[in-house]
Each structure stands twice: as C-alpha cells, then as structure tokens.
C-alpha cells in the first residue's frame, strides 16, 4: 500500500478558528502592554480607547472556538486534546521525546497542555476581566482579587504564547500545517506516528472505495 504524500491536518474552518483566536490574543497582549507598562502608556495615551479595544478583543476571544464547535473536525480535535493516553505521560517525562520513539497521536502532550491551558486561561481572564470592567457590581475585595489574578495570569499567558510561537517557528512543517492545512506524511510519521498511520489508512481506504465506485459505473 502506497502512502499518500501529504495528509490533511487542519480543515479551513479549524485554521480560521486558530487565526482569529491568534489575532484576538495578539490584540489583547499588545493593548495590555500599553495599559500596563508606564513607558508605553506615556507613548500612546488614549487610555479609554485602548481599554475599550482590550475589553472588546477579550470578550471576543472565546467566540471563534465557540463557532468552531459547529465543525466536526474541530470537535474531534477538541476531544483528542482533552484525552491523555499513557504514552502522553511517558512522552512528557522522557528526555528523548523528540526522537519519535514514543508513538503519539495527532497532538503530543505538550500541545495538549498548551491548548488546555489557553482554554482555561481565556475563561479565567474573561471572568476576572468582567469583574474588573463592571467593578461597581462587586465588593471591593473581589475586584482587588480579580485584578491580582488577571495580572499574574497575563504573564503566564504571555509566556505560553511566546513558547507556542517559538516552537512553531522551529518547525516549518508544523507551520505549513496551520497555513495550508496539509503536512508531509513523512513529517507526520516522525512527529505524530499514530495519527499518521490511521490518517493514511483512512485516506487510502477512501481512495479505494472511490475507485471501486468508479469501476462499477
């Protein structure tokens, strides 16, 4: 059985969700810097406008993923990201995780941790952000607590986003997967063996059925 040259890793809808989320996250981080770091605030001023942009982008941040839930491919990947196999734990602990010796599925454990952390962070930032924005409806101590959580978690989110971008930039094939949707099968077998094998099988099977149908008619 010949392997397909490339595999579909992300559908158009999934890539749209990723891009929209990335843009909104970028807006949140940049406006946060201008609200938070005095030197930058002194450069721009316009505090009310920047705050407004920050709040709108923050409220919008979960929206692409919510829309994505309408796509079967997105729901499937969400399910995969949720579940950790025994190999995921082994992969996390192993020092040779990058050698491909431990077979992992469509996402490795690092990607799963990142995705789930970002989801949790987006929700916590949204909740604490709403407490801060509509401060009058809450007791003072909650308002202070929300600011405390929002500020510290912002640094963790920044670190996770920078790490995510850095890792992606080291791997042109991973970038290609998110840009075009397709990845070379050879890359997939090296990085995501279980997924590559199953996906290849599915593609071949589909091609075979199609061929059979064409032959019949």
């Amino acid at each position: 059985m010949r392997l397909p040259a490339k595999l579909l890793r992300f559908t158009r809808g999934q890539r749209w969700v990723h891009r929209a989320t990335a843009i909104l996250m970028g807006i949140c981080l940049v406006t946060a810097a201008f609200l938070y770091i005095d030197v930058l605030s002194q450069l721009t001023g316009h505090r009310a406008l920047i705050e407004w942009i920050h709040v709108i982008a923050g409220i919008g941040l979960p929206v692409p993923a919510l829309i994505g839930l309408g796509s079967k491919a997105f729901r499937n990947d969400a399910r995969i990201l949720n579940r950790f196999s025994r190999n995921d734990w082994r992969w996390l602990r192993s020092r040779q995780r990058r050698d491909g010796g431990i077979a992992v599925g469509k996402f490795n454990a690092g990607q799963k941790l990142n995705a789930n952390f970002q989801l949790g962070a987006i929700l916590v930032m949204l909740g604490t952000g709403l407490v801060m924005r509509f401060a009058n409806h809450w007791p003072i101590s909650l308002r202070t607590g929300a600011t405390f959580v929002h500020d510290w978690l912002a640094y963790a989110v920044l670190a996770a986003v920078l790490g995510h971008v850095w890792m992606a930039n080291r791997d042109p094939n991973a970038l290609r997967g998110m840009r075009t949707g397709y990845v070379p099968t050879s890359w997939a077998r090296r990085e995501h063996l279980v997924w590559a094998v199953h996906e290849s099988a599915r593609v071949s099977e589909r091609a075979a059925t199609k061929k059979k149908r064409t032959n019949v008619s």
């Binding site: 005095d38 007791p139 405390f148």
Partner: protein
C-alpha cells in the same frame, strides 16, 4: 461506549504493522484536559476571593525590594502598590515651570491667571496622605504640598450663586468637578509638590489637583483651569460611568479604607 469516534467511522485498527503494540488511539485516555481547565477555573475563583490577602503578603515581601529598585523593573510586577501612569489623550501635555498658567474664572469676584510663582507665593499646606485609585491600587503616605483649595477660593472671592467647581486639564481633554462644599475642605490641594518634590510631568506637573478624601480620578492632572459655576458638570470619567461624588470607600461600589495620614 466509544463516544470518541463518529458513528459513521469505525475506530482505527489497533494492530497496524507500522505501530508499536502499545500505541494509543487518539481520543482514548483520561480527560486530563477538562481537569486542567476546571482546576484553572477553581484556582482563578480562589484567587479572586483571596487575592486581596495574597496581595497584602506579596506587598509586604516586595516592598523593600521595590522601594530600593533603581532599574524600575519592579514596576512590571503585578499588583504592587505604586503609581500607575494614566493619560487620556494622545500625548503628554507639556508646561514648564516658566510657562505654566492657572486660570480661575466663572462666578468669582476677581478672575485671575496665576503663574507657578504666584501659587508658590501663597500660603502652602502640607499633607501626608494615601492616594487611592478606583481600580484598586493605593500608594500609602504620599507627601503632598501646595495651596489648599479654600485658600485659593478666598483669594479670588466666590460669588453668590456659585455652588460647584469645574476643573480643566491643559491636556485639552480631561475635566473634573467638585461641589463648592467639597472644595472648601482643607484636604483638597492645588498641589505643587508630590512625593516630596515638585510634581513631575508624568504625575501631572507642574501643578495638579489632589482631592484626599476621594478616588484618584478626582485629582485632575495637568491642572489648567478652575471655573466656579452654579451646578456640577460631571467630569471625564464620570461621563464614562464613574461616580461624581467619589468618596473613598463610599462610592463606585468600593469599600476601601479612607486615606490615612
């Protein structure tokens, strides 16, 4: 039940020759992701409820470091008590000690324009009091000095019918307000000094307002004009929903302690 596979697709083969025998199948395993998300929501809620206590501990630990930090890097730390820079226009307004002017007008007997030297020549009042921002941060025991607002009002003579003050910033956008009764308090200053030295440009210098019993947004930076009027006109942030009477601890839904001295 194999919920992880769509009904129209059979689960992939476990025993493919290319796969090790123990290869996992995508979508099987424990729902660790959900646990991570739920834990973060729980921790976030705990942080919101007990954040004030955490912050107090953090401030106690960091205060010595922050106050002796020459690099200014500690300003990047979250939730540390320090002045934060707020400006509502596109660039910082510039008035130096030599070209500074404060216009006082409206319902007064003697409308006048005061230079910094004029203000310095008037009796000075000194206060050591906290600065409390409505967004939560507070800088304790700030050294303020300047002309007490009631002294300035006496200097210009308030006319009958005046019951409110309108402050304008020379940034061209910011405005603030006080009732005449509030403006007669001795802890409301036209501040020339802050933190023990002339008010810097970032802090609203050369002259700003300091309204000790109220939240920071009442303490108009880059003070350019004072006008006596018959009624209160809500200021910049008040048009955006903040309380006009901004008593610390008794407005904006907040319960902070009053500014201590």
């Amino acid at each position: 039940m194999n919920r992880q596979w769509d009904d129209d697709e059979r689960p992939p083969p476990r025993d493919h020759p290319d796969l090790p025998v123990d290869a996992p199948i995508d979508g099987e395993g424990r729902p660790v992701g959900r646990r991570i998300v739920l834990s973060m929501l729980g921790l976030g809620a705990l942080g919101v409820v007990f954040g004030k206590q955490f912050q107090n501990v953090q401030n106690d630990v960091l205060a010595p470091v922050v106050s002796h930090d020459p690099t200014g890097l500690s300003n990047l730390l979250p939730a540390v008590d320090r002045f934060r820079y707020y400006n509502v226009t596109d660039s910082e307004p510039v008035r130096t000690a030599s070209d500074y002017k404060l216009t006082v007008g409206g319902l007064v007997d003697r409308p006048m324009t005061l230079t910094l030297a004029d203000l310095q020549a008037m009796p000075q009042t000194t206060l050591i009091k906290d600065f409390q921002c409505v967004t939560g941060w507070r800088v304790p025991q700030v050294h303020w000095s300047g002309v007490a607002l009631p002294d300035l009002l006496e200097h210009v003579g308030v006319q009958k019918g005046a019951s409110a003050l309108r402050f304008t910033s020379f940034d061209g956008a910011y405005t603030e307000s006080l009732t005449l009764a509030q403006a007669q308090r001795r802890d409301v200053l036209v501040a020339l000094q802050m933190l023990g030295k002339p008010v810097t440009r970032d802090h609203g210098g050369p002259v700003r307002l300091y309204v000790a019993p109220m939240y920071g947004y009442k303490s108009c930076k880059w003070l350019g004009g004072i006008e006596l009027a018959s009624e209160v006109t809500p200021g910049y942030w008040e048009d955006l929903g903040y309380d006009v009477d901004a008593w610390v601890g008794k407005s904006n839904g907040r319960g902070d302690d009053a500014a201590t001295s």
